[in-house]
Each structure stands twice: as structure tokens, then as C-alpha cells.
């Protein structure tokens, strides 16, 4: 046993590997991405990036039915995509164990919503386990596989950003091989047709009763006695906040949160003066505890939105006595996230901006173009949605063609292809820009079916994006290099006016992946009219010094988009100017 410092994600990967997992599939999504990246480093595990979460889960189901322990990982909204197989998987049951990890993102550090996925456990009738830190994440995932096989059920391992991305000390052990289980080919066992599913649903209800008994006695649900009359019920990282703020309280610490232990909750409630439930987001525990007839408070004290912090919990539980901070947060220029210097997405938006189309965005780095001064997205909802939405908008507008969908390569292959079929098949007039930077950039640069490489670093067939769009029925398919701003604008202007569905593939690699840089640009102060055109493309390398626009040459990678939008010809490559003697 060695103690190592691991993030929650690394701890899940380590625990799953030790549990004998042989198959792991995922689509990258913050805060879950590094689990699959970490487990891919173990040679015993066939680990892969699936095109999307639904396929990841389905592949994991196949692997588990085929007899090996399997793990599927996704962020909270990924489970929406995988919800279809997930909600029937509990009827089917398992062969070897299967664990679905979903990582919620309270406060939306990197997400479009903060839905509380604990409700999925209740809806799908699946047992749920919630670790509170790295040590528990490591241990709980091992237990999850044992429970999956013991109760013949998939297990939902629910974590949150503060568990995923917090490092803590973990005592690790050795991998235990579990061997291959034989597939049971008995008729109808795994075929969820109505007659079979009706019988399976009854079995599922009985399984939930057995799991409820387990919940009463599992070491994951335990009482920690304190001296005061205050009784806290908490799970996940919220336990640690409450524990720090109220070290003297008694705790019912829940690690197994579906189904809940009714008798244990009752026993705990009777042993304390008052019960307060400390949980992030929705009153999931609170509603259940109150339905048990236990008097408890929770969301009347604590917020229902955003993640908790020790200060939020302190303020709520000490009835408004907030620890006084001496320094109010200073009023400072905001520093929102932004596309990197040299990002091809910025080049594309610089080309599109003067055309003023209605833009339906999608999920990726290009989402950041919504911010001022670019202001280039008008609508953004979820993975793949740009295409259907821009199609519907232009249809509803009686053929309003100046409507642009914008989607990245990884997102297109995740859930955009059905949308491309929609615009071709139902005769859309919208234009779709596919910003192909050859990677899944926002989550840190993962491969996908279009990159020609797998998670394990093997070569693979790369999807031909233009070919796919043509095969799906789009006649007008064009490719541009976004760093040629004027040419990109010309093609885009033409296609926005075309009374037919069109696809523009804007292709240039993510510079974070290639590491390539050209010579840095700089501003000739004598020519600069301070018109602000370069500033409006919102490049982090463009700043001001001495009241003048200037380019930070250590950040600039020389993409030249600023010089292409400069009407005064004041920006050029520093090395070129030196050569021509203008410096």
C-alpha cells in the first residue's frame, strides 16, 4: 500500500483498473475527461474515445455482457445523450460488472447547465454511489463493480467537479484480474421487447428492495457522532464543507445515495436535536428524507443553485453569521475565458462578423465567441444543436438564408450528422460552418473519429467530413482556410445568400496541438489610427501600452488575422519589417 496524491479522476481510473476493468469508453467532457485518459495508460484496459456518450455506454454494455468489467464515463449532460440505453440497461442487468460514471458540474465551471444527475438514478432504478474525495473515489469504484455483479445491476457513480479536480492522498493497491464471464444466451434474457421487459421490470422492483436493505447496512452510509445536538445529513463534497464548518455536529454521511436507507435516517434523526441536510443543487436528499416523515431543513437555508463552499455553508448554518473577510474583492477588469492567440476559430469569426448572420453556436472553444467584443453567437444550447436550430430558424423565417450554424469537428461527429441529414433531406436553406481544428480542443485536445488516431495512439480511419456531408445529401460543400480571412468571407457571403443548404468546412489545426508558431506580429505606431478593428477580434496577445495598441510578442504566434482586419496596414510581422528596414 502506497500513498499517492491523485485527483478524483485519477483515483477513479486507478480504482477501476485495480478492480480488473478491461474496457473503458467515454466521450471527453469536463470535469470527467482525465478518467479515461488515465485509464488508457494501463495496457490491460481497452480504452477508447467513442463518438458520443450513448455509443460509449452501449460499447461498455456490450463489453460487460461479453464478460469483462466495463466503465463508461461522461459529464452530466453526456448522460442525457446516453439516457436511452441507460434507462433500459437496468432492466437488462449485467454479466460482468458495469459502472457508469457521471460528473456533474455545479456552478457550471465548464458547462451549459447544472442539472442534478442524482435524479437519473431514481428514474432508471439504478443504485448510486457518491464519493466525497479522491480516497473515496478510489475505494467506491472498486465496491461499485462488486455491487454491480452481486445485484446484477449497472451502478451509477456520481461525482462533481470538486471531487474530480481535487487532489488528495490515496492508498493504492494491486490489480485483481476478474476473468471472463460466459455470456448467457438463454432465450429472451436480454431482449427488451414488451413481454420480456414487463417481467424484467418486476424483477427490477424486487432488486430495488434488496438494494434498499443493502443501503441500511453498507459501510458507505455511516453515522459520525458529535457532541452537539445538530444532526447533518450530507453526501459528496458537501460533507467536507459541513464537517469543516461544524466540527462538533453529528453526521449521517451518505455514500450510497440511491436507494436511501430509511431506517438509518430515522434512527439518526431521533438521536439528534435537529436535522439539516447539506447538499449541492436540488433537494434530492431533502425531499426523500421528508417523504420518510422526518422533520428536516435544507434548501430553506442553503442555495439551490451553484456549488457550495465552506463560507456558503457557514453562513447558512450559523444563521447569517458570515465570517468577515477584511478585503472585499477588488474592483478589477474582468478576465473571462477566451480563445487562444492564433486560434482558427477567431479567424473564422473575424471573417463572418461583417456579414452579420444570425449564428447558432454549439459546444466547444468556439462557444467563447459569444463574448464581447466578438458577440458572434446568438443561440447556444447543447452538443449538435446548432444544425437543427439553424435549419428550423431559416425554415420558420420563410427561407431566411442569412442564418449560420457553427459547429466543431468533434461535436459534428458526436451528434451533428443527423442534423446535416435534416438540412439536406428537408431542403434547408441554412449554411453550416464546420470549424475543423482536428481535435476536441476545449477538453484539452482529445482524438475523435475524424483525427485518424485513437486514444491508445494507434492510427485509425479518419472520417472524411466533406465526403460525409455530400453522402448525406448536401450538394454545396466547400472548404476554406480561415486564416485567409477575405477568401473565407467571400465564400461565406456567397453561401449565406444561396437558396440551398450549404456546408463550409473551415479547416486549420488547433495551434495548441501542433505547437507551431510563425514570427510574432507588431504594430507600427506611426500608421495605427487606433480604429479598434484589431482589438475587436479579441485576441489575448493584443493589449495596450502607453495608450497605444500593442502586441505581446511572447503570446502572439503570428496567425496574422489582426493584420488582415487592419484597415491602415499598421500591423505586420516584426521579422518582415526588420528585413525591409522599417523598424
Amino acid at each position: 500500500m502506497k500513498k499517492v496524491l491523485l485527483t478524483g479522476n485519477e483515483a477513479v481510473a486507478r480504482g477501476a483498473w485495480e478492480a480488473g476493468v478491461e474496457f473503458a469508453a467515454a466521450y471527453p467532457g469536463t470535469p470527467s475527461t482525465e478518467i479515461t485518459e488515465t485509464i488508457a495508460q494501463y495496457q490491460e484496459v481497452k480504452a477508447e474515445w467513442a463518438p458520443n456518450e450513448k455509443v460509449a455506454l452501449e460499447s461498455a454494455i456490450g463489453a460487460a455482457l461479453g464478460g469483462v468489467r466495463a466503465l463508461a464515463c461522461m459529464k452530466h449532460v453526456g448522460l442525457n445523450v446516453a439516457a436511452d440505453p441507460f434507462c433500459t440497461l437496468s432492466y437488462v442487468g449485467v454479466n460482468a460488472g458495469i459502472v457508469l460514471l457521471c460528473a456533474d458540474d455545479p456552478s457550471m465551471h465548464s458547462s451549459q447547465n447544472e442539472q442534478d444527475n442524482r435524479f437519473y438514478a431514481r428514474m432508471a432504478k439504478v443504485p448510486m454511489i457518491e464519493p466525497s474525495d479522491s480516497g473515496e473515489a478510489y475505494g467506491f469504484v472498486k465496491l461499485a463493480f462488486r455491487l454491480s455483479e452481486r445485484f446484477h445491476t449497472p451502478v451509477l457513480l456520481r461525482v462533481t467537479t470538486r471531487v474530480c479536480h481535487t487532489r488528495g492522498l490515496v492508498k493504492t493497491g494491486k490489480r485483481v484480474e476478474t476473468g471472463r464471464k460466459k455470456f448467457d444466451k438463454r432465450r429472451h434474457l436480454h431482449v427488451m421487447a414488451p413481454d420480456v421487459a414487463r417481467e424484467r421490470h418486476r424483477l427490477l422492483a424486487r432488486r430495488m428492495e434488496r438494494l434498499m436493505e443493502y443501503s441500511e447496512t453498507t459501510p458507505l452510509n455511516r453515522i459520525e457522532r458529535g457532541a452537539s445536538a445538530m444532526g447533518i445529513i450530507a453526501s459528496g463534497v458537501a460533507y467536507h464543507y459541513a464537517r469543516e464548518v461544524l466540527p462538533g455536529a453529528s453526521f449521517l454521511r451518505l455514500g450510497f445515495t440511491h436507494p436511501l436507507p430509511e431506517r438509518l435516517v430515522g434512527r439518526f434523526a431521533r438521536s439528534v436535536g435537529e436535522v439539516v441536510i447539506v447538499e449541492e443543487l436540488e433537494p434530492y436528499l431533502e425531499d426523500a428524507v421528508r417523504a420518510m416523515g422526518v422533520k428536516a431543513r435544507g434548501k430553506s437555508l442553503l442555495p439551490r443553485t451553484g456549488e457550495l463552499t465552506p463560507d456558503v455553508v457557514r453562513e447558512a448554518l450559523s444563521r447569517g453569521r458570515r465570517r468577515r473577510a477584511r478585503g472585499a474583492a477588488a474592483k478589477l477588469p474582468a478576465r473571462p475565458p477566451n480563445m487562444c492567440p492564433g486560434c482558427p476559430h477567431r479567424a473564422f469569426f473575424a471573417a463572418a462578423k461583417p456579414l452579420k448572420p444570425v449564428v447558432f453556436g454549439d459546444i466547444g472553444c468556439y462557444t467563447l465567441a459569444y463574448q464581447p467584443p466578438l458577440n458572434m453567437l446568438d443561440v447556444n444550447i447543447c452538443m449538435g444543436a446548432s444544425i437543427g436550430m439553424s435549419f428550423g430558424f431559416s425554415k420558420a423565417g420563410g427561407g431566411n438564408a442569412d442564418c449560420l450554424g457553427v459547429i466543431g469537428d468533434s461535436t459534428l461527429l458526436h451528434s451533428g450528422l443527423a442534423g446535416v441529414m435534416e438540412m439536406a433531406y428537408n431542403r434547408g436553406v441554412n449554411t453550416l460552418a464546420i470549424l475543423d481544428n482536428g481535435t476536441t480542443a476545449m477538453t484539452g485536445g482529445q482524438d475523435h473519429p475524424g483525427t485518424g488516431r485513437t486514444l491508445k495512439g494507434e492510427t485509425a480511419p479518419a472520417v472524411d467530413i466533406e465526403g460525409v456531408c455530400r453522402a448525406l445529401g448536401v450538394k454545396r460543400v466547400f472548404t476554406v482556410n480561415p486564416f485567409d480571412v477575405m477568401e473565407t468571407r467571400r465564400v461565406l457571403r456567397r453561401e449565406l445568400k444561396a437558396r440551398e443548404a450549404s456546408v463550409i468546412v473551415s479547416r486549420a489545426p488547433c495551434p495548441l496541438m501542433t505547437g507551431e508558431r510563425a514570427g510574432a506580429m507588431s504594430v507600427d505606431a506611426g500608421l495605427c489610427t487606433d480604429c479598434g478593428a484589431c482589438v475587436r477580434i479579441n485576441c489575448p496577445a493584443i493589449g495596450r501600452s502607453g495608450g497605444k495598441v500593442s502586441i505581446n510578442e511572447s503570446l502572439c504566434i503570428g496567425c496574422s488575422v489582426c493584420s488582415q482586419v487592419c484597415g491602415a496596414g499598421a500591423i505586420s510581422r516584426t521579422s518582415d519589417r526588420k528585413n525591409s528596414g522599417k523598424v
Binding site: R243, E244, R326, G327, L332, A334, N538, V549
Partner: protein, 205 residues
């Protein structure tokens, strides 16, 4: 180090801008504390929250750490990789806070567009709340060593001069996380930051 000293809690906020190496810096600090026998929790930021935006990591060390997040007014150290970013976290500061502030300046978009001014008085403003402000010319020192990119290690060296973690724990951490020329340059930067502060530090806290 004496054992009872080890048990005391040390909370550090590392403030920066996405892409500057905030996560690696926090990882080095947390590993060094762990190597020195502390319980450690370190919370960091990934994904969209990272792309050039304001980011912070919380590193907590003590006998037993529960919350991964530091409470307001609870920071012992604020280590700022960028000049003005320390100011964003002054709510976490108190009279016992030491703010260590580097010399790298990155203009936020509103400064670039000219609609807001970059606060040139970061150290002074931090000093109104924090007990002590330490300005470190990290980029300059790193340039002298031969690579401006290792300025983070200069700042980590300055932090190391003030926390009860033996140098061997820091050096072991570096050796575990990098190798070759990168290790050498970073260690040189770290030592330069350490030496820069060793004589000024008011002693181990």
C-alpha cells in the same frame, strides 16, 4: 521541522490566468506538502474555465484537511503568477496573509480595448489587506536563468522560503514531475526564487 509545526494548517491560493501553468504550479506545491508529511487537498480548474480566463487553485495542507476550498479570510499565502490577479482573491486574505506577486502582466480584453485601466498599484492594494506583500521579479530572474517560461518556479521558490517544507521535498517533487533540461532549468529558477526570498523572509511560519 518540528512535528507540532507540521500539524498547523497552511492554505495557499495560486492565482493566475488560464494557460500560465497554474495547475502544474499547484500540483508541485501539493506534492511538496504531501512529501513533507501533510494531509493535502488541492482544487483546480479545467476546461472552459481555463481558456485564458482568471483561474485559481486552492492548496490546503494540515494534519487532516476536509474542505478542498479555502474559506474567505483564510489564506496564509496568495501566490499570484500574474501581477493583478492577486487582487481578485483579496476576500481570502487577512492580516496573516503573505501575498507573493510576480511581474508578468497580461492585459484583459477591456484593458486592450482601452475601456478599463490595468491596475498598476496591485502590490499597494494587496498590502491594504494582506499582512505582507512580496514582489518577485520572476520573469526577469527567469530570463537571467535563460528561459522566461520557468518564471513560475521562481515564484514557487519564493513560497518555499516561507513554508515549513524541507527543500528535499520540493526537489523530489520536481524530479518526479519532469526530467532532463526542463528539470534543470526549473530547479535553477526555483533556487533563484528561494535565495531571493530567504534573507527577506520573516522566518518560517
Amino acid at each position: 521541522m518540528e512535528n507540532n509545526e507540521k500539524k498547523s494548517k497552511i492554505d495557499t491560493i495560486i492565482a493566475g490566468v488560464g494557460g500560465l501553468g497554474n495547475i502544474l504550479a499547484a500540483k508541485i506545491v501539493s506534492h511538496a506538502f504531501a512529501a513533507a508529511g501533510y494531509d493535502v487537498k488541492q482544487s483546480e480548474v479545467h476546461g472552459m474555465a481555463q481558456r485564458g480566463g482568471a483561474v485559481s487553485s486552492h492548496v490546503r495542507a494540515g494534519a487532516r484537511v476536509h474542505s478542498p476550498l479555502i474559506s474567505l479570510g483564510g489564506a496564509d499565502f496568495i501566490l499570484s503568477l500574474e501581477k493583478m490577479e492577486a487582487l481578485r482573491y483579496l476576500e481570502y486574505a487577512s492580516s496573516r496573509t503573505v501575498a507573493i506577486i510576480g511581474d508578468l502582466r497580461i492585459d484583459p480584453p477591456s484593458v486592450a480595448s482601452g475601456s478599463e485601466e490595468y491596475p498598476d498599484d496591485a502590490a499597494e492594494r494587496a498590502g491594504r489587506v494582506a499582512g505582507e506583500v512580496v514582489e518577485v521579479a520572476a520573469c526577469r530572474i527567469a530570463r537571467e536563468i535563460g528561459s522566461e517560461r520557468v518564471f513560475n518556479s521562481v515564484l514557487l521558490g519564493a513560497l518555499a522560503a516561507r513554508v515549513p517544507v524541507p527543500l528535499s521535498a520540493w526537489e523530489g517533487t520536481y524530479a518526479g514531475l519532469m526530467s532532463g533540461a526542463a528539470l534543470e532549468t526549473n530547479l535553477a529558477a526555483f533556487r533563484a526564487g528561494f535565495d531571493n526570498q530567504r534573507f527577506r523572509a520573516t522566518g518560517c511560519r
